[in-house]
Amino acid sequence: MIWSKLKAGLARTREQLAGRIRAVVQGAALDEALFEELEAVLITADVGVATTQRLLERLRERVRAEGVRDAAAVPGLLAEEMRGMLEAVAAPPAAPGRGPGPLVILVVGVNGSGKTTTVGKLAARYRQEGWKVVVGAADTFRAAAIDQLERWCQRAGADLVRQHPGADPAAVAFDALQAAQARGADVLLVDTAGRLHTRVNLMEELRKTQRVLQRLDPTAPHEVLLVLDATTGQNALAQARHFTEAVGVTGIVLTKLDGTARGGMVVAIADQLRLPVKWVGTGEGADDLAPFDPGEFTRALFEGTPAGAGA
């Protein structure tokens, strides 16, 4: 199962993190020094300063309210609070087969985060579930981006709608949705070019792509997935904010969790922007994608801590 793979991937981190937490609470008094050590643990997981402080504030409150005396209980409480933040905004991925037309999923994000790979993985997954899948190659800018997507579609057994390099991405998206509708497809996945959220004209291009889709289906896109690289630090918050402002992100895909990065910035994003994580990527293969599970995620981070991560 993918979560065991995630755990294996996180093993070193987890040993470090869990080991450090264990060392921190071992025989420790429940005092400010302990909270300072916990702060270090959370910040090295990329949770960020503001959300870390909020988590520790809640922890202090619970310690006070519940009369907690034993430092050993603290990691479990912390994991519970973190899971709580993620669960408060959790939402399942949109599923095909609901409405009359195809489920339209627009995939966006900064350069190299894993968009094309995620489109490939989703295409493979939906095909395995028996849905008819069309993919639109709306990254017409990056060298060989279309070839890359084509390989993924061949592998997955999905139809690719493409134009020539340099074509208008909105026009490709329009063609793709038209084709998906005409062929009675269940899902349309639109891959877009990587762009930094600070590039105003490129964000406008994305908005145009969205508007053009709405000409064919006013309810589209039904899902806008922002693909975030788990190795990213606090910049992820700025990415999430700007992409949401531009095209109304409905969920996050957290990729490259098979490395040692903790992906803690998704906690900050849940806390500060109320955006759910929907999928996690744990490798470069077609199967390395799973729906996000807040409990599993925090468990994978905290496993091995004395209080068992409050799962």
């Binding site: 060298a143 890359q148 930094l196 490259k256 490395g259």
Partner: protein, 307 residues
């Protein structure tokens, strides 16, 4: 939120210091706490921040500072100095002298910008009168070869790309032979992205290194990387002995704390910065500018004057 307001926050810290006239250790402590937060929000590694603050504290609570006529100014100067020093002082160049062809190997995590940077370097070197050959040694990522070939055409540099059913070590070795045959004097090897904990793929890089003895092994790092940057850099350095770092995607609003951390843990200089997707968007890296950016200070010097 990471970016905006930080400069003001720091300026406020320094202004408060300045307003005090004479400083106590407690004043300095309070200021350092806020500098610490600013650095953490910029993704500077936790351990690096800790050591950094300790060094600044040691210098800043010294008698000369606390008893000087402009203590606040002194403290700010120390922060700026230490940061610049961490960044390595001045621009470090590529070393492509010696036996020809000089081999350069680009390594790094998935999606960091290796392939794009290989083409950018090829273009830059061509303009310096060199004759590079690009080598496509990523046989894993779908269409990685096509990407390099397309970029090679854009920068008008030949690409050695024998396909994807070959061992990358052989491709690299043959690439160097090919360069010799064609009289090319620099070989730029584009390798597949890999995780630093992927033992088999890290070993592949070690074998390529053995086969072609690169003059420069450059680690390509995404400027948006968070706290994990040190683990990545440490591992690549331990296994390969990197010669320098290229920081990509600096055209966004990343504060780039990863840069500071990577430099601190490897001791290797950041040689270039990537500032966009186009092949002409690569520039020599300037430590002082990056230091200012990390602190969120447009112009550190003017700030020091104001203090």
């Amino acid at each position: 939120m990471a970016f905006e307001g930080l400069a003001e926050k720091l300026q406020a810290v320094f202004k408060r210091l300045r307003g005090k006239g004479k400083l106590t250790e407690a004043d300095v402590e309070a200021a350092l706490r806020e500098v610490r937060l600013a650095l953490l929000e910029a993704d500077v590694n936790f351990k690096v921040v800790k050591d950094f603050i300790a060094r600044v504290r040691e210098r800043a609570v010294g008698q000369e500072v606390l008893e000087s006529l402009t203590p606040a100014q002194q403290v700010i100067k120390i922060v700026h100095d230490e940061l610049t020093q961490l960044m390595g002082g001045q621009h470090a160049r590529l070393d492509l002298g010696g036996e020809l062809p000089a081999v350069v190997m680009l390594v790094g995590l998935q999606g960091s910008g290796k392939t794009t940077t290989a083409a950018k370097l090829a273009r830059l070197l061509t303009r310096q009168g060199r004759q590079p050959l690009l080598v496509a040694a990523d046989v894993y990522r779908p269409a990685a070869v096509e990407q390099l070939v397309t970029l090679g055409q854009q920068v008008q540099v030949p690409v050695y790309a024998p396909g994807t059913d070959r061992d990358p070590v052989d491709i690299a070795r043959e690439g160097v032979a090919e360069a010799r045959r064609r009289g090319r004097d620099v070989v730029l090897i584009d390798t597949a992205g890999r995780l630093h904990i992927d033992d088999a793929l890290m070993e592949e890089l070690e074998r390529i290194r053995q086969a072609v003895a690169p003059r420069e092994i450059l680690l390509v790092v995404d400027a948006m990387t968070g706290q994990d940057a040190v683990n990545v850099a440490e591992t690549f350095h331990r296994r390969l002995g990197i010669d320098g770092v290229i920081l990509t995607k600096l055209d966004g609003d990343a504060r780039g704390g990863a840069a500071l951390s990577v430099r601190a843990v490897t001791g290797r200089p950041i040689k270039f910065a990537g500032l966009g997707e186009r092949v002409d968007q690569l520039e020599p890296f300037h430590p002082e500018r990056m230091a200012s950016r990390i602190l969120g200070m447009g112009d550190v010097l003017s700030l020091i004057e104001k203090a």
